[in-house]
């Protein structure tokens, strides 16, 4: 622990340290010289490929993908054209920009994913240089062609090529250039000799560096900081200019006294930086130039590559992988030699405590006297997060925990979360995993996703469980990913595969089996896909894929299962187009739900098909009904009659005697009506039997009406009603009386009273009151407004209810007769009650 500051170098007001991350386990035959090397930020993977011009044309270069610790993830011979640039997308896909402008995309395992082109004209002019950059919109690619034209794609997942305007006076490649991201716009800053130009979508502007003192010499290198906020330029006179990327402000200008052009130049900063710097790399020298002008030199014994990070620079050499960063202020406070910071004292106190020395108490007392114990704990916790080595982390956390004991109101949150984060970080930093994330770079989701990209499913699941990520977002997603890659593997039989997948995924919520199945289908394993679909809980999701796989029968039953009728319709209409009519009907026959839905559809859209459907099912009843409604669509009587005849036949087949008879009667009626219409122009056709008789009676065709009455066996009651109404309507009172006497009325005589009163003929009405049955007599009297008569009848019948009815009809007027009547009724009521 005493040596913790051994690798620290002071730079201006701050310290810089170079921490070893890994001893590289890779074996590189020629080091990193003459190779294209791309290392993804956030401790991402490394791709290495020999530069093509260094090889004889007949030899195919090898593309290797390693973890940050140098473990091989993939290696394969490059079979496409010459590659200009390698780079990584934000989702850790490898982009290989070819000379002809084609960009090929591979995943971490070296599997080819897709490709796109940077434009047709590039095929001719060739890519002379390419850069892969990251922005809030995703991963972008920028190229400059042999004819000095720039083309940009800001997001490879939503490809839109932008050809930038021409740069005046630029011949051949620019001396150096960089992609800037400003005001939500992607621009290119380029140097042509001593001149600088800024290229955006529409124009090319010449720019000058702010801050006076024009630099003499030619710009040979440009570096933009990780956040696109700062800019550094290096001239062939050895001057390093630093400033803001918006070219508004200058930070400093330093003369490095090294005139040869650097191999690489990278900003080295961290959030809340004290002393930002630019790391300049030559073949044998690494120079850290602080903005303030101080420098640190690291001689190199082998070729290196710098990788810019959010909080430092990683140095990649054939044998080692190191992190160069500004020492965080807390760490400095604790570990700086002779530091009296509260954290440093606490660490010391804990050390003494472990030695059972009473000095521990002294240190503690000292911190407490300053009232700094809370700060001390916080410092130790924070510093632990920044340390790479576990024993340092432990020492700091133990000290923090020790200090915590003497505090009562310190929130444990920070302590717990740092412990948790470190646990995950240490797990992924392990050389076998090889993701050297720092605590500053640690956003959880990214971490799990990246394990998944590397197919480190068990660890990913462990992490999710440890972090208590909800199943739905964590473990389920990982398992889905696993299953998707599993089904693309060859070799295992469908059964084994399904058992393996379903066994693993069984009770994880929110798994989309249809998604996995469609992956299986895409890789040509239809049977496997079908078997997997069986596990899909959402029937609706199964249908589209099943249709795509031409399993329409299965799709149909799944659609029905889902209950979504629209889905059923969709499959039905699909099946209808796919099959011949016979098979289609047979299919429906086995699926009653689909059949009735299709019937509904036919009712509205294809009446004829409906008929065929019923025919096929020998559903005579429905077929007859179909004919009945079809008959109404026929304009000509003959046609209508023949359709009705079909209905009769079908009703007979359905053994529906009533309906067949009723239909026959209707046909008879129609014929009768037509005959009469022809003879007398009566306009009867289409009327009901009742209406026909009514019309006949109204126009005095008594005989014909009587004929219908007999012929259609109309009930007596109804006919009597009809007749007496018609007579009253015509006010043929004598006829009515004659009719009443023709035989005993089947409807009684109250109707006679009523029809008369309807015509306000009280005189005629009275004639029938006496004939009314005793039960209805009260009502008859009331109908002719004879309250007294009603009262007498009611009293005679001694019916409580009827007396009550009469009472309610008695007006409350005070005429003496009324009062007498009321009294009489009341008395009768009491007697009736008593009874």
């Amino acid at each position: 622990m005493a040596f913790i500051t051994a690798n620290w170098n002071p730079l201006g007001e701050a310290f810089y340290r170079k921490v070893e991350l890994y001893e590289m386990s890779w074996v590189l035959r020629d080091g990193l010289r003459d190779s294209l090397v791309a290392a993804a930020p956030y401790g991402g993977p490394i791709a290495v490929m020999k530069e093509s011009q260094c090889l004889s044309p007949s030899v195919r270069p090898q593309l290797d993908i390693y973890t940050a610790s140098g473990v091989t993830m993939a290696t394969f011979p490059w079979k496409s054209g010459p590659v200009v640039q390698l780079g990584w997308s934000v989702s850790e896909e490898l982009l290989c920009v070819q000379q002809d402008g084609t960009v090929l995309i591979y995943d971490l395992t070296g599997a080819f994913l897709r490709h796109f082109s940077m434009g047709q004209e590039v095929v001719q002019s060739h890519v002379s240089e390419a850069k892969i950059f990251h922005s809030p919109y995703g991963t972008g690619v920028a190229i400059v062609t042999g004819s000095s034209r720039f083309t940009l794609a800001t997001n490879i997942d939503d490809l839109k090529l932008r050809r930038l305007p021409e740069v005046p006076g630029l011949q051949g490649a620019p001396s150096c250039w960089a992609v800037l991201n400003q005001d939500r716009q992607t621009k290119v800053l380029l140097a042509n000799g001593p001149e600088l130009y800024l290229l955006d979508n529409t124009c090319c502007t010449s720019v000058v560096l702010p801050g006076g003192s024009p630099l003499d010499g030619v710009f040979v290198h440009i570096a933009v900081s990780f956040s696109y906020k700062y800019l550094a330029l290096f001239t062939d006179t050895g001057h390093l200019w630093t400033g803001l990327a918006n070219l508004q402000d200058k930070l400093s200008e330093v003369d490095t006294k090294i005139r040869s052009p650097p191999k690489q130049m990278v900003w080295c900063r961290r959030p809340q930086t004290q002393q930002p710097s630019v790391v300049v790399l030559w073949e044998r020298l690494l120079l850290v130039v602080a903005v303030g002008g101080d420098t640190v030199q690291y001689p190199l014994d082998e070729a290196c590559v710098c990788v810019g990070e959010l909080d430092g620079v990683r140095l990649l050499s054939p044998s080692r992988h190191e992190l160069l960063q500004e020492v965080p202020l807390v760490c400095e406070d604790i570990f700086k030699i002779a530091s009296m910071g509260p954290g440093a004292l606490l660490l010391e106190a804990h050390k003494e405590y472990q030695k059972s020395s009473q000095k521990a108490d002294e240190y503690l007392r000292e911190i407490k006297e300053q009232g700094m114990l809370g700060d001390a704990v916080r410092q130790c916790v924070e510093a632990a997060g920044h340390e790479q080595h576990t024993h340092t982390q432990k020492a700091l956390l133990r000290a923090a925990s020790f200090g915590k004991c003497f505090l009562t109101n310190l929130s444990p949150e920070a302590f717990v979360s740092v412990c948790r984060d470190l646990r995950v970080l240490n797990a992924v930093r392990d050389p076998s995993i090889g993701i050297p994330l720092t605590h500053t770079q640690y956003p959880v989701c990214v971490c799990v996703c990246r394990l998944v990209y590397r197919r480190l499913y068990p660890l990913a699941i462990e992490v999710c469980r440890y972090l208590k990520t909800p199943e739905y977002q964590g473990v389920s997603r990982i398992l889905r990913h696993w299953a998707c890659s599993k089904v693309q593997q060859k070799g295992e039989s469908d059964e084994v595969m399904v058992r393996c997948i379903s066994g693993r995924l069984a009770d994880s919520p929110g798994i989309s089996y249809s998604h996995i199945a469609s992956k299986a289908y895409d890789s040509g394993r239809t049977e496997l896909a079908i078997k997997l679909l069986d596990y899909e809980a959402r029937s609706g999701e199964q249908v589209p894929l099943l249709l795509k796989m031409r399993r329409s029968q299965l799709a149909l039953s799944k659609a029905i299962e889902s209950g979504d009728t629209d889905l059923v319709y969709t499959v039905v209409s699909y099946v209808k187009n796919e099959m011949n009519r016979g098979d289609f009907f047979m299919t429906l026959r086995n699926q009653p739900v689909a059949l009735s839905l299709y019937r509904q559809f036919c009712k509205l859209q294809e009446q004829e098909t409906l008929k065929d459907l019923y025919n096929q099912d020998d559903d005579h009843q429905e077929l007859a009904n179909y004919y009945v409604s079809a008959s109404y669509r026929e304009k000509r009587l003959e046609a209508r009659l023949s359709v009705l005849q079909s209905a009769v036949d079908e009703y007979n087949k359905a053994k529906n005697e009533f309906s067949s008879k009723a239909t026959e009667e209707e046909m008879r009626l129609l014929r009768f009506q037509r005959k009469l219409d022809d003879e007398k122009g009566a306009g009867l056709l289409g009327l009901s039997l009742q209406a026909t008789m009514e019309a006949l009676l109204a126009s005095g065709l008594q005989k014909q009406a009587d004929h219908l009455y007999r012929d259609f066996r109309v009930s007596d009651k109804r006919y009597w009603w009809l007749k007496l109404k018609s007579l009253a309507e015509k006010e043929e009172w004598e006829e009515l009386e004659k009719f009443s006497k023709s035989k005993k009325s089947p409807v009684g005589y109250l109707p006679f009273v009523e029809v008369c009163m309807k015509k306000s003929n009280k005189y005629e009405a009275k004639k029938y009151v006496t004939k009314v049955t005793p039960e209805q007599r009260v009502r008859a009297h009331l109908t002719i407004e004879d309250v007294e008569g009603a009262a007498d009848a009611a009293i005679e019948r001694r019916s409580e209810a009827e007396i009550g009815t009469v009472i309610s009809h008695c007006s409350s007027s005070s005429s003496s007769s009324q009062r007498l009547l009321l009294d009489k009724l009341q008395r009768a009521l009491t007697t009736a009650n008593r009874k």
Partner: protein
């Protein structure tokens, strides 16, 4: 605006707000001025979600009704079609789009309640699918009607489910219940009776599995869901509802919370306008619990409404009298501050007194004097027909429900046919007789059918067929008439129904206790196990399901806290049934509160009407 939705046990305004939010989001998706072309059927239900003002705020400038031919001219950027997913509507839309010549417009379709691949396919066939910028769905399944009432306003639900075996509405029901659970928490217990209920429950359980993992963490508001098939209780809707609200619906029909009334009664109420012409437009009134008086009287038996109204009249006039007692400036100020409320109460009272009078004229026996007055005033013939008919009809209904002579041809029905009374009325009675007799004898059934065909015309063959298919009308098979058993076990007929101060749900039909509500009541206490026998006699399976709640969401019930049940009527519910459930909620010892949901608010007539077929007649 929607205060009445928050009155109940469950704040249904959450649902309405969610629906409004979604509507606003859709409207904002179509930037610029808009015209909405409405599928006419949707305007009513939408009115319950959003008024025109909301649409206006989102730049809706014009509204049209969807019809064939050309769109009416409108100077707007967007044309939005609000339609149900029906093929015939797609054809109209295609016609509209084709005939519209202006190229600068954006077209959008909003499918309610769900988009349909079939319809999109149709648009594609018509060659207009590409013309639409947005094709979206507006998931409007359950529409809040009142503080305790949700309806899907799906007109053909019963016909679809029981006649056509089309389960679209049931799918929407299940989806709607999922939405409801997303807002109000998982309902831990599901009971049901009937095939459709079983189907809906199955779909719900499957959907829940499908969304497993994305469980919501809302404390459940509903304890129980009861799904009831309408065909379990075919009897209740056939009977004439005798509550105030029920009678308004029976006589004038309530649609989407509004009733249209004959204007005469409301004309002379306006003072100071002199003898202006009688308004010819029907009077439109909104009926819901936002109106204090209506909330008070709607659930009363109509015979108790008069007393309630006169009591209210006294209170209001007493309140107005208060002004004479107001002496100090402070008192006067207080009185004045109450004036708007009192005036609203007074106009509400006037409205309901008029409605009650209208109903009374049609339902109760008027005194001779009144008849005479009517005769003299209106020049009408002395004719007690309307009220007598109502009474006679009621008597027959009650005979059927009590099981009197249900196996013979009923003379009243016969007379009604002879008199050519409205067919629906005849069918209602006939079906009732059939239901109360567990089917009619062949002879009786054939007689009725023949009478109907001969009197109303042969075209009703199809309607009769439909009634038979749904079981409303049926042939008695060898099996025993089990209606009396059901009636006795469930106490469907209460001899001494108290209409004024009810003590049992039977007051809503003046004696008949709706079967559906009895089932609900028994479920709450003592449980369905006590009536296994009867349940077996009613069609379809009965079942119970439990839905697992996420840990920590189990309700800790306070002492005496009521449980809440959502009763879902698949195929429609009547106002009287709702009233009966409200009555159960208010009963002190029931320990249960009910929220009612349904596919459609129905009454016997609208229900029978939905089952009728009208072949388009071509006169040869």
């Amino acid at each position: 605006m929607a205060a009445h939705l928050t009155n109940g046990r469950v704040n249904l305004n959450i649902l309405r707000e969610a629906a409004r939010k979604e509507l606003r989001e859709f409207l904002d998706k179509c930037a610029g001025s808009k015209a909405i072309v409405w599928d006419e059927y949707l305007t009513g239900p939408f009115g319950l979600i959003a008024q025109y003002s909301l649409l206006k705020e989102h730049e809706v400038e014009k509204m049209f009704t969807l019809k064939g031919g050309r769109l009416p001219p409108a100077d707007v950027k967007n044309i939005i079609f609000f339609v149900r997913p029906r093929l015939e509507l797609m054809d109209i839309i295609a016609e509209n789009v084709f005939s519209d010549k202006s190229n600068s417009r954006d077209y959008h379709i909003l499918f309610v309640p769900r988009r349909s691949m079939l319809c999109e396919q149709r648009l594609k066939e018509q060659g207009v699918l590409g013309s639409f910028t947005n094709i979206d769905e507006y998931i409007l399944d359950l529409i809040p009607y009142d503080g305790d009432l949700l309806s899907m306003e799906s007109e053909g639900a019963f016909r679809e489910c029981y006649l056509e075996n089309d389960q679209t509405t049931l799918y929407h029901t299940a989806k709607g219940l999922m939405t409801l659970q997303a807002l109000y928490g998982t309902i831990p217990q599901i009971y049901g009776k009937g095939d459709c209920a079983r189907h809906v429950a199955n779909m719900m359980l499957r959907m829940k599995r499908e969304f497993a993992g994305s469980q919501n963490q809302i404390l459940p508001v509903f304890d129980t869901l009861l799904l009831l098939d309408r065909n379990v209780d075919l009897l209740t809707p056939l009977a004439t509802q005798l509550t105030y609200e029920g009678l308004i619906d029976e006589i004038y029909g309530i649609t989407n919370g509004y009733v249209k009334l004959p204007p005469e009664k409301f004309a002379q109420k306006k003072q100071g306008e002199g003898s202006k012409d009688l308004p010819t437009e029907p009077k439109k009134l909104q009926l819901n619990s936002a109106e204090e008086l209506y909330a008070e009287i709607r659930d009363k038996n109509f015979n108790a409404v008069g007393a309630a109204l006169s009591k209210k009249a006294k209170i209001i006039s007493a309140a107005f009298e208060e002004r004479h007692n107001a002496k100090t400036v402070g008192e006067i100020k207080q009185f004045v501050s109450q004036l708007p409320h009192m005036q609203a109460a007074r106009s509400s009272l006037a409205n309901h007194t008029s409605i009650a009078e209208l109903i009374k004229d049609l339902t109760s026996k008027r005194s001779v004097q009144e008849h005479r007055n009517a005769f003299e005033a209106d020049g009408f013939v002395f004719c007690p027909v309307a009220s007598e008919a109502f009474f006679d009809n009621l008597t027959v209904e009650q005979e059927f429900m009590t099981g009197v002579d249900t196996d013979k041809v009923n003379t009243y029905i016969e007379d009604c046919i002879s008199q050519k009374d409205p067919l629906i009325k005849v069918l209602r009675l006939m079906c009732m007789q059939s239901v109360c007799n567990n089917g009619l004898k062949q002879k009786v059934l054939d007689f009725y059918k023949r009478e109907i065909l001969q009197t109303y015309g042969y075209e009703h063959m199809l309607t009769l067929n439909n009634l038979e298919k749904t079981g409303l009308l049926k042939l008695q098979t060898n099996s025993r008439n089990n209606y009396p058993t059901i009636r006795k076990t469930l106490k469907l007929w209460m001899e001494d129904a108290n209409e004024q101060t009810p003590n049992d749900i039977s007051y809503v039909y003046s004696g008949y206790a709706p079967l559906s509500v009895r089932l609900t009541q028994v479920l709450a206490r003592p449980g369905w196990r006590s009536i296994e026998e009867v349940l077996k006699m009613l069609p379809g399976p009965h079942f119970e399901e439990r839905q697992q709640l996420p840990a920590g969401l189990h309700k800790k019930r306070q002492q005496g806290e009521n449980r809440t049940t959502l009763v879902f009527f698949l195929g429609g519910v009547t106002y009287a049934e709702i009233t009966a459930l409200r009555f159960l909620s208010q009963m002190e010892d029931s320990g249960m509160e009910y929220i009612i949901a349904t596919t459609k608010l129905i009454n016997g007539s609208s229900w029978i009407k939905s089952l009728m077929d009208h072949p388009e007649t071509q006169i040869p």
